[in-house]
């Protein structure tokens, strides 16, 4: 590889954020304990969705507030107080709705909670109340100012040009999440925060312990130790790397209708690749046999790769010759 290409390759890894299994872009934060946690960045669409939900809540509350205020003003003799109450409550709703919920719900608003998003500190420290307040005060120029520009009355001469300039200028702030890799909006930049997805992962059974991970297809083999009817020589385990191993894991965990077909093909390919043969005559048409074989291979391959890993050798995939 020439220097220029090497440089291009490193530059690329710097600009492209790694993607998680869910397809979301990932980034890392360093916790105060010194462990790098991988967090999944919220997609821009998800954030917009969460914001829309919150906006709907807000609008609903404001409509109720206006109706209530008008009712109080017409029915009771307390018009002045009712108006004052309405004005102040509206201001607080608009300014502190997001901050309030993000403070009491640890970085989530109702919208974020429904979509499954959360605000965290970009540097990995605790999310500070001041960050929460700041990131939401900046909504003033991201949301409310653009809205008022759009509804700006034509008082100035040359209004079209003025409006165009204002729209472009404001647009830069409102659309900031589109212009950076982490999808930060202005508020996130000034407050030092990050919006991440908080999905929940379940701990699946270890394939090393369980024979058939997919219930139903081979009930007789559930919860049995891995078969030792299939054995592999060390040189047969030199063909694959971590990527192939984890792909095999995913295939073994699959439960959809095409899974057995896929497994059969993979088992064939592996047997050919590692040149596997046996004295006994195995019928690889049965999913039970296929699963048993693949699982035995998975365990042997994983043991092999993990042992190498203890000696500091991580073989990334089958092309990795290290």
């Amino acid at each position: 590889m020439t220097d220029a290409r090497l440089y291009a390759a490193t530059a690329r890894t710097k600009t492209a954020l790694e993607r998680a299994d869910s397809g979301r872009r990932q980034t890392t934060v360093l916790t105060p304990e010194g462990v790098e946690l991988r967090v999944e960045l919220a997609e821009r669409g998800e954030r917009a969705g969460a914001f829309l939900i919150d906006a709907l809540f807000l609008i609903g509350t404001v409509v109720a507030l206006v109706v209530g205020t008008i009712y109080l003003m017409t029915v009771t003799a307390l018009e002045g107080y009712a108006l004052a109450f309405g004005l102040v409550v509206f201001f607080f709703l608009r300014t502190f709705y997001f901050s309030f919920f993000e403070l009491i719900w640890r970085g989530r608003t109702p919208g974020k909670r429904l979509i499954g998003l959360r605000v965290i500190d970009r540097a990995g420290g605790p999310l500070r109340p001041s960050s929460v307040v700041v990131r939401n005060l900046l909504r003033e120029i991201e949301v409310f100012l653009p809205l008022s520009v759009l509804m700006m009355p034509d008082v100035v001469g040359n209004a079209g040009l003025v409006r165009l300039c204002a729209t472009i200028w404001i647009g830069i702030f409102a659309l900031m999440p589109l212009f950076n890799r982490q999808g930060l909006r202005i508020g996130d930049m000034v407050a030092g925060t990050l919006v991440v997805a908080s999905p929940k992962a379940a701990l699946l059974p270890d394939l090393v312990d369980r024979a058939a991970p997919h219930a139903g297809t081979a009930p007789t083999m559930r919860a049995q130790p891995v078969s030792d009817r299939f054995t592999f020589e060390p040189q047969q385990l030199e063909h694959y790397g971590i990527y192939e191993l984890q792909t095999l894991e995913a295939v073994l965990r699959r439960t959809d209708v095409h899974a057995s077909q896929t497994r059969r093909e993979i088992a064939d390919r592996i047997r050919r690749k590692i040149d596997w043969s046996s004295d006994a005559d195995w019928n690889f048409k049965y999913d039970g046999i296929v699963v048993e074989f693949l699982q035995a291979f998975y365990v042997a391959q994983r043991a092999h790769l993990e042992r190498k890993m203890l000696f500091g050798k991580r073989r990334r995939d089958k092309h990795d010759k290290s």
Binding site: T31, L37, G80, L103, V133, M189, V190, A201, V226
Partner: protein, 336 residues
Amino acid sequence: MKRTTLKSSQFRKEREASWRELDALVARMEQKSGVALGPSELMRLPTLYRAALSSLSVARAISLDRSLLGYLENLANRAYFQIYGPRASFGEVVGGFFARSWPAAVRAIGRPILLSIAVMLLAALAGYWLTMADPEWYYTLVGDMAQGRTPASSTEDLREVLYDGADGDGGELTAFSSFLFVHNSRIALLCFALGIALGAPTLLLLVSNGLLLGSFFALYASRGLGFELGGWLIIHGGTELLAVALCGGAGLAIADAFLFPGQKTRLQSLADRGRVAGLVALGAVVMLAIAGVLEGIGRQVITDDFIRYGIGLAMLALWSLYFLSGRTTLEGDGHD
């Protein structure tokens, strides 16, 4: 080849119970925030969290089980969110804000605040001189903002505005106060938020505000009503203009952090300064609420010039004492 026991699966068997325990605790915290845990569980939480983090580190080094790695990564994430989310209760946050964080934040960005006060004062002086030299400037600088009070108004009319309103009923005065508060707060917060646009709009707002004030003052001074207008303005204006200056200073601080990040990265510099500036702007909202009451009710009810001056200057003295007497800094407090 014999069946082998994998180190990674052995590792999982030994630790799995503690992960599940942490998982259950975190799941409950996610459902109800805050007080969902008993004291003994709260004691367990940090231990379990650190254990999960160390498990994650070990698993990354020894295990190739993707499901396990994904689960641990996720569990550590969720526990981290719970543990490092805003910890304090809402009440504690509010208390800490007034007791320490707000005045400390004001001191931390003292220079931009002084700059914004200076800009406003200079603009006011300029507005004053311009209007004194040529009353036509009044129409440019103030325009329709002063409800029909122009150089064409009679001195009697101008005087009347300073002292009427005392006959308004409580409801009207309250509505007027809250209108003033909401309006001024929006302008002030905008002044802060626009700091991100390199501070230019913030400066513009400060200058136009100062010009307006100076020009308005010139109109009254030219009729020999300068002292009376001073009382009319200062009773609430001391607090209100200080709040606007704080927001302007906060906006300028952001602009400064963005333009001149020094050793830090631009984003880091913004984040560090932005938090401090935001605290200052937030506090200004409180000041504007007080100013709204002083303007909407206090000024209408109190028509004696000396009492107006007394209240206005006393408020200014109180604010200065409050902001400048403390010694705490934001660093190391962590409770901002």
